[in-house]
Structures are given as structure tokens and as C-alpha cells.
Symmetry: C2
Subunit: 447 residues, 2 copies
Amino acid sequence: MKIVIIGGGAAGASAAARARRLAPEAEITLIESSSMITHAPCGIPYAISGIVPSYKMLKTYDVSRFTSERRINVLTQATAQTIDVEDRTVKVSVNGRLEKLKWDALIIATGAKPLIPKLEGIEEVSPITLRHPEDVASVKARLEKARKVAVVGGGYIGVEVAEALVELGKETMLFEMMDRLLPASIDREISEILEAGMTSAGVDLHLSEPVRSFARREGKVVLATDKDEYAVDDVVLGIGVKPNVELAVEAGVKLGVTGAVSTNEYMETNVEGVFAAGDLVEKYHLVLRRKSWIPLAPAANKEGQVAGANAVKPGSLRMRGIVGTSVTKFKELYVARTGLSQVEAESNGFKVESTLITARSRAGYYPRGRDVTVKMVVEEKSGRILGVQAVGLDPVVASYADIAALAVERGLSIEDLFLSDLGYMPATAPVWHPLIVAARTLSKGRF
Amino acid sequence: MKIVIIGGGAAGASAAARARRLAPEAEITLIESSSMITHAPCGIPYAISGIVPSYKMLKTYDVSRFTSERRINVLTQATAQTIDVEDRTVKVSVNGRLEKLKWDALIIATGAKPLIPKLEGIEEVSPITLRHPEDVASVKARLEKARKVAVVGGGYIGVEVAEALVELGKETMLFEMMDRLLPASIDREISEILEAGMTSAGVDLHLSEPVRSFARREGKVVLATDKDEYAVDDVVLGIGVKPNVELAVEAGVKLGVTGAVSTNEYMETNVEGVFAAGDLVEKYHLVLRRKSWIPLAPAANKEGQVAGANAVKPGSLRMRGIVGTSVTKFKELYVARTGLSQVEAESNGFKVESTLITARSRAGYYPRGRDVTVKMVVEEKSGRILGVQAVGLDPVVASYADIAALAVERGLSIEDLFLSDLGYMPATAPVWHPLIVAARTLSKGRF
């Protein structure tokens, strides 16, 4: 059996490893356009700031180790050019020469790529984008010459890049078209805490201020908004990503309503024998009960496993769905969320109630506890937990989203969560866990 | 309506607060034998070491605030002497004078008390016990005179007291009759990591070495075991606690098989109108599907709420049960667990499989990640998760037990957990969460 996987990131490498495990005799080829596999783009901001000393660390496996331990044929610097689904082949360009690879099962894991808006001057200015760990060296070199840098976009990438710039001692501006940060993920009360943290660290936030054009002028980059013009030394673009679907589409693979590749729960596309996994694929949202596109590494990894398993053993593993758990931070301020924000829930027709509580991350008397703020969103009548957001100067808030993820996935109510047996010791949590306090508050005195 | 609550700790104070909330007109009296209420005995080791500057911090509410905000009649330094269930009264001694309090509902929350073994010389030596935050001052004074101190007991109290003694610069010995630490809670592989951590911090561990007798000799305390005699300056006894049931029993309240007070899920005892909550009560274990006695603060708090609610609104709230989630630490080494250990599961007739994995607490490339070890115990055929233990030099392991607690409570399988949407960012977790790695390992290649 011949298996070809296009893309050596989280999803592709997981798929390859899984296929190998279940099919020791299969011939498995992994096609990767860079020279790294199992690369971790989530780490790019930390390699830029220097918290992670080298971009070369942003991977799980060396190519040689992956090849030798897993007996997988890894083609790096290789680009899949066309997929022939009749012939079951992929045309690949490797080192300038074209090869044709035969497959019985094909897994497309081409990921996502930065959104580049069609703005005046964008080609002339050519803002920095964060696409691949291998770009880090050139980004760092370019930033070395800059004193004042603008970040365009206030989503996860924008926030994390702003952290990196502050760590590098840059004068940092951030432009976001919406009136708050992370508007697609968290509600305003939580955004505001993040905004305050960034502002107090010196980030010059420009909310409700979409960038309209770029220009080079007198050695500077000038950003124009509806309000003003701003001269900076360089610009990082982080307005988001889009699914990298061109190759799949050309092969006849169908996209879903979200614009990402549509698969069934076995990660198989509409084309028999062609699977897709990772950031180019839309996911089933367990609360919304429909497809949504939330490109995150944990789902990509699992989808890779599922695709790899089903490529060699059809129907052996299925992807249940996601609830959109994610975490980010700005310096020591952590923000985590799962399920639906209130805005998201209401815009999807849920009648909701919510609470916002502030608690300590440790027992009140124990040193180094921090204020943590939890927002919990529940369905009005049933009390079913739809989503949780948490923010605070303690990484423990990330675990609140994890605990809540299980509660949301399983349809737990506030009473279920209140009565759940979360642990306690003074140095790790208060005796009333902040999630339990939030659930209790929403009961309005019932418990 | 008159409600009397005996005991002002976690359970009693929660019950009082809940009753007040649901019955604004009720006459509520809280009887407490010390001068503090809402006291937090879990914090005693940290008040002894000085990490918490004063024992007075080991409470949630001042008496005056609790009284004024909640309009609850708090009697401190008051001892409930007898309960008359016919007459519905409690006889209380307050400042040396006897009072008789009438009740329509009575909540007994007398907690637990240290186990004192009947060993030769124990009265003469009178080892230090940790019972109440108010004891801290005298314990500290007594320890000031000691250079070398022995801890008897290797459970949670013993481990936490040993930390306090090391923090105070004492030469510290610890004696445990079993061949490992925390034998009732965790399996040997996890105990061994804790033991290594304590030994390397200078604790002289004596496992499999029950203390047989105590004596005072030449200004020293001498502990005799089957192996040797040891001269120290003082001794702390931490072999465990027992439910403080005498008052309840005298009133005709029945105990369960565990020796703790038996209640129904509304926290009502066999005596109509008499509730019990907290460490004196046995709990329903959701995995064992029978009563067990695990005295921990979070359950005590919730039982108090449930008892307080049902005392004024019968049948309004029920306690579902527990899975025994608990956390401890020795210095920076954290140990957390939930559900059943392998030993516990097997001795209760479960056919189990388990895995022990070591992972990093953060992305491999992110600084300050730590090795964390997770043991997962599952039912052999179904793959249902029965219990999880986690240990490592990162407080995040406490959250692994919390996440797993929900999984265990809800009967999730390893596949369910593998596919759950736990969050990821390099600074808070690896992309494959250690719990997911453990679940995957147990699938033996299925995922």
C-alpha cells in the first residue's frame, strides 16, 4: 500500500506516524515544502523575542530521526504541484525536478496561510508575516533595524507578536479594526483586562482603527487609518489566516460553508481515498452542532492521527469534534477560553445567562496567588455550560479552560460543575475553585 | 424557624450561609468551640513554616463580619454538650454557663480529629498534633526549641509537616509504617518520586518502620521502632484523622460501615431534622459506588451547602458524590490524584490496565517546562478511566487531577479523553497534553 501525505506540520506528521504504526509494510511518503517537519508555528513569537533561543527548536522531530525511526520517506523542499485523482498520483517538484508519486491513500495537510488584505501599498511595504519557523531568522534581522513597529491585527497572532516586540524593546503599536482585542474568541469584559495589561506594558493600542493603506516615505513605513497617519520603522501583519486549500480544490475536493475543506468524521473528503487533516479542514463544533473553522494545533494533531488511521484501516477512528479551547498570553497575563463566548452564543440563537467573577488563584492566605477573572456563559433554561473564559496573571487559568472544555463537551450544567470534585490545596487553588464560584453565582442562590 | 449548627469550620459555616440565603427570617445559631470560624486547617503547615505569616489568616471570615453580613448568631468558645432529639434542643456551654438552644433543624459539622495511637509513652511525650489554626502559636513556640524533629506518619499531613520543618531548618525524620508515602492515595511509582524529592531535600525517611513507643530520656524524645531507637528533640504526630462523631452518636445518629456518620444524599441523618456535613460524614464514591470516608475541604464545603439548603428547603439540593480528588506538595514538588489508584482499584475487584508516562509541562522548546509524570488507571475491557495520578515540579499537575476528575465522574473512556479538546499554548502545556499522551498510550496503538 502506498500512502502520500502532503504537508509535514502537525497534522501531516501525525498522519504519517499513525499510518506507519498501523501499517508496518506500507510505503509512506511525506511531502514538505520547507526543510523542517513537525514544525510548531505557535512558537514563532517566542523565537522572535528570543525566549526560545533558536527557530530550529520549533519542531518535535528532526527529519532524519523521523525517517529512521518511522521508515517514512520524507521529501523536504518539495512542492506538491498537482493531484490526479483518476490516476491516483501527485506530481511533486523536488530540487527542481518533477516526480510523480503513486498513492492508494492521499492525505492533504497543507495547513493555513496568512491573510494578506488587498490594501494600497501593501506590496511596496511588504509587511512581515509569520508563516513558518524558518522565517524567524529573516524576521529577526529585519526587526533589528526597527525601533518602532506596528502590528496590524488584534487576534492571537497580533497579541503574541506584540509581546515579542515589547520583549525586544521595540516601541509597539497595535491596530485592530474591531473595538477590542480577540473579538472572535472572548467577550468584552475579558478583552478589556487584556487591553489594560498590554497598555500598561507600553503597547500603544489603536482599536476601532482599521489600517487603510501603507506607504514608504522618507525611510519610514506610513500606515494610514481613518483617523490619522502613523510613521513606523516596520510592520507585522497578523490579521489572521486562511485555509490553504488551492491544491485540494484543484483536485476536486469540496469545501464546506466555512471555506475550508469539508470532511466526514473519518477525515475523508468527497474524493474517495483522499483525506484531509489540520488547519485547511473545517471542524465539527460540538456546541454549535455545525461545522466551524478554528485552526488550532491540538485538533490538527488529532485529525492527522484520525486521517492516518483511517487511510490504512478505514473506519477505525473518528474525530468527535471540538469546542474551540484556546489559550494565549501577553507576558505574564494569560487568557484562556473554551466553548462559546456570550457574543458567539447569542449570535447563534442561544438564550444565555452569564456571570463574571473575580477570585484568587490560590487560597486567600497563601502567597503569590493572583486575581483571576472567569466569565461563564450558560443556556438560560437548562443551565448547560456553553463556554468559559478566564484571564489572570497566573498560567493556571489555562487549566480552567481545560476543565471547562470537558464540561462543555459533555453538556454539563452549572449544578453538575458545582458538585464536581475539583481538587484543592492552598498552593494550587482556593477551596472554592473559581469555576465552581462562577457556577454557583449563576445558580442565583439555588446552591 | 430555628436552625442550630454545631461546628464553625468549612461545612458548618457553609451550611449557615446557605440557610441564611434561603431563609432570610430563620434564626440561625452557629456553635464553635474555638474563637475562629471558617478556619482552614489545610493551611496549618504553611503557618508553621511561616510561608503564611499568621495563623489568623487561616480563615475566610472574621466572626464579626460573618455575624453582621449574614445575621447569624455565632457562639465562639462554645461547646455543644448534648443533643436532645425528642425535645429538639442542644445544651451548650458558653463561657462556663450552660444554655439550651431550641432547633427545628440541626446540622452537625464537628469535623475530624487527629488519630492518637495507644503507644507506650505517648502521654508522657505528648507529640505535637495539628488540629486547629489556633494551635499554631504553641506549636511554633515548641518547635523553636527543637533542632531535630521526627514526623510520625507519611500521609498528607506528614508530608506537609515535613515540608514545614525543612523550611524551618530542622533536621527532619519521617516514620511511616507502610513501605511508601501516601499509600492510601497513590501507587508506588508516584510515591517513589515524592520520596526521592523529600530525601534530596534532606528528609530522613524511615519507611516500613512503625513507631512502637516513645520515651523521654536525657532531655530528648526517644522513638523506638523494630529496627532501632532514635533520639530527637520533638515529635509531630500525623498518622491521620478520625471522624469526630461522639456527639452525634450520643444523639442517636447512625454511623455507616466506614465509622463516619451516614447520611442520605440530602445530608440528612437517620434522625429526622438532623443533618450532618463535613469531615465527620462518609461520602458516596462515584467510582466505587459505595460509601467511603475521604475527609477533604471541597466536599465539606459542598456538603455544608447541601445540608444548609435542605435544612430550610427539604429536598432542594443533593450531593452527588466524590471521586477523591486531592493535591499535596513537598516544596515545589506537587502530587495530585483523582479516582482510584491501581492498588485501590484492584483491591476493589476492578480488572485494570495502567500506564505511567513522563512528559513536559510545556512545549519542549519553551523555557521552564518541567518533567511531569502521569499514571492513568483504566478498566481493562471498557477503557473507562478509573483514576489519574500526577506528580512533578510544576503546580500544573494539580489541574491534571481536576480535568481527570470530570472524566472519572462522567465515566469517560481513554478514547473520549484523547479526543477531548484540551487547550494548548507553548507556555502552558505541550500540544499533546500529558493526559492525552497517557490515554493514547493505553490505547496500545488504536489511536
